[in-house]
């Protein structure tokens, strides 16, 4: 374990160390009760901590989508209730998971990286290791478990808030009445799309959490490194989330 902490290398070194880190994070914890306590703490940290910001942004994204789409439809023959349908489908399939996870990458990602980076530089991780604690399964395992369960829930909230945002904006601007909009929302329910949304959410949550933990866990040097590690965590998480989005779209829609 200790061997790889102070070393650095090219992309292959980082990929290898990242894979080892993830594998060790799922090792059996010493004391299940401690692990659960930590998981619950992380769940509230990720879930409750980001709820308001995700709802706020999803609301506006839904509202803007509805208004813009209604404007385009108003010059065509397509019936207005279609706005509801399109907002719903685009929120579920793409906007809710992607936008939520980009927000989470910024908020939770930088948070996790600086938390672990601080623990590394103040030797708290060393202190755990000296006691014989498996630092991967104690520090990173609960964060991954919390992300995989909480991010899908947040994404469901995001989709619902976005659709509501569209409803309110549509009727406030007078483009589409709420009954028309709701008719569109209820037009067709594609179960597969909800499945895709939840899969994306879990995968993105895993990606952004593991990448951010990696950056913090292996931070070394002076205190400035913590800031740099959080920036790297956010940038890399965003890129990898979008990349995974592309791969998943291709895999799941075929």
């Amino acid at each position: 374990m200790a061997e790889y902490v102070h070393e650095t290398g090219g992309p292959l070194f980082h990929i290898g160390r990242y894979v080892l880190m993830v594998r060790r994070s799922f090792a059996n914890p010493e004391r299940a009760s401690m692990y659960w306590k930590e998981t619950l703490r992380q769940m509230s940290n990720i879930g409750v901590g980001s709820l308001v910001i995700i709802m706020l942004i999803s609301f506006f994204i839904g509202a803007v989508s509805a208004v813009q789409f209604a404007y385009n439809l108003s010059q065509s023959m397509v019936p207005m209730y279609f706005v509801g349908y399109v907002v719903k489908e685009s929120m579920i399939l793409e906007l809710a998971p992607t936008i939520s996870c980009l927000i989470l990458a910024g908020k939770v990602g930088s948070n996790l990286a600086s938390e672990l980076g601080t623990m590394r530089l103040t030797e708290q991780i060393d202190a755990l290791e000296i006691m014989g604690v498996n630092t991967f399964s104690y520090l990173i395992g609960p964060k991954l478990a919390a992300a995989i369960t909480m991010v899908p829930l947040l994404v469901i909230v995001s989709a619902a808030t976005g659709i509501t945002g569209g409803l309110l904006a549509g009727s406030a601007t007078g483009y589409v009445s709420s009954s028309d909009y709701l008719q569109g929302v209820l037009l067709q329910f594609v179960q597969k799309n909800v499945f895709i949304m939840l899969t994306k959410a879990a995968v993105f949550g895993f990606i952004l959490t593991s990448i951010s933990c990696y950056q913090g866990f292996y931070a070394h040097g002076s205190a400035i490194e913590i800031g740099k590690a959080s920036t790297r965590a956010v940038v890399l998480s965003c890129i990898m989330v979008l990349f995974a989005d592309l791969i998943l779209a291709w895999l799941l829609l075929n």
């Binding site: 102070h6 623990m119 030797e123 708290q124 060393d126 202190a127 000296i130 014989g132 604690v133």
Partner: protein
């Protein structure tokens, strides 16, 4: 007993430790001294296994620690406590939870047994009525005490202290030094302390090894320290604030006596 044999540590091309050989005995306060950057922390971390030596061996009671698997290492680690330079207390936990942590993690004690044990060690390090405080609310000396309490809560056979006096005023330093010394003798622990503070060297050094640029230049006891004929060691003694600080501390004590 801990034995270090032919230990080398390299970071890239920088050779930080060169062929260290020595032994550390139980019930003794073993000191590693040397200037900042001489390799004290790296040596301590190689001994406890936080760093892997480039080559060489560390024996805990004749068992080769470097060659052990993770399972065996963890068994040794249950018998080992460490006080880190900055305390390394867990920020999100209170004093009580910090000290309790190893018990929660590794013992099957009941809650009340744990609490009794925590209060017992907190009392031992003279830290009472601070159970609910968080690390950020503690003074440097209190953080060190909490760190010591956490390090000894599992009754370790070996205790490691990295610069226990750093960031403390001279008075608090003496108190912490004395505490470490008492605990070492009371529980017959093998203690290894890193320091560049000459005050602790002359009061605490049952055995002293002096590092200079990663090499062991001298080894002896506090009694033989001032008869050493190693040039670097003599420079180290005279470059430290020791002589001046010793005078200041003495003056303080005399003043306190006079004002009584």
């Amino acid at each position: 007993m801990i034995e270090v044999r032919n230990l080398y540590k390299r970071f890239g091309s920088q050779e930080v430790l060169k062929n260290i050989n020595t032994t550390f005995e139980p019930g003794k306060n073993n000191l590693i001294i040397g200037k900042s950057g001489s390799g004290k922390t790296v040596l301590l971390k190689c001994i406890v296994g936080l760093l892997t030596p480039t080559s060489g061996h560390v024996f805990f009671d004749e068992k080769d620690y470097v060659a052990m698997g993770i399972q065996q290492k963890n068994e040794i680690r249950r018998e080992l406590g460490m006080l880190f330079q900055g305390g390394a207390l867990f920020d999100s936990l209170s004093v009580e939870q910090n000290v309790r942590f190893p018990l929660d993690m590794f013992t099957k004690m009941s809650n009340s047994e744990k609490l009794d044990r925590v209060n017992e060690v907190l009392k031992r390090v003279n830290l009472v009525n601070a159970n609910a405080k968080f690390p950020s609310q503690l003074s440097g000396g209190m953080q060190k005490r909490t760190g010591i309490a956490r390090a000894i809560v599992m009754n370790p056979k070996y205790l490691f202290c990295d610069e226990p006096n750093s960031g403390l005023d001279p008075q608090t330093s003496i108190v912490i030094d004395e505490l470490i010394m008492e605990i070492t003798e009371e529980y017959q622990i093998t203690t290894i302390t890193n320091t560049h503070d000459m005050n602790s060297v002359v009061t605490n050094g049952d055995k002293i090894i002096f590092l200079h640029e990663g090499e062991k230049h001298w080894e002896g006891t506090r009694e033989t320290l001032f008869m050493a004929d190693n040039k670097e060691l003599i420079d180290f003694i005279f470059a430290s604030d020791f002589l001046k600080e010793a005078r200041d501390v003495r003056l303080e004590k005399i003043k306190a006596k006079l004002s009584k």
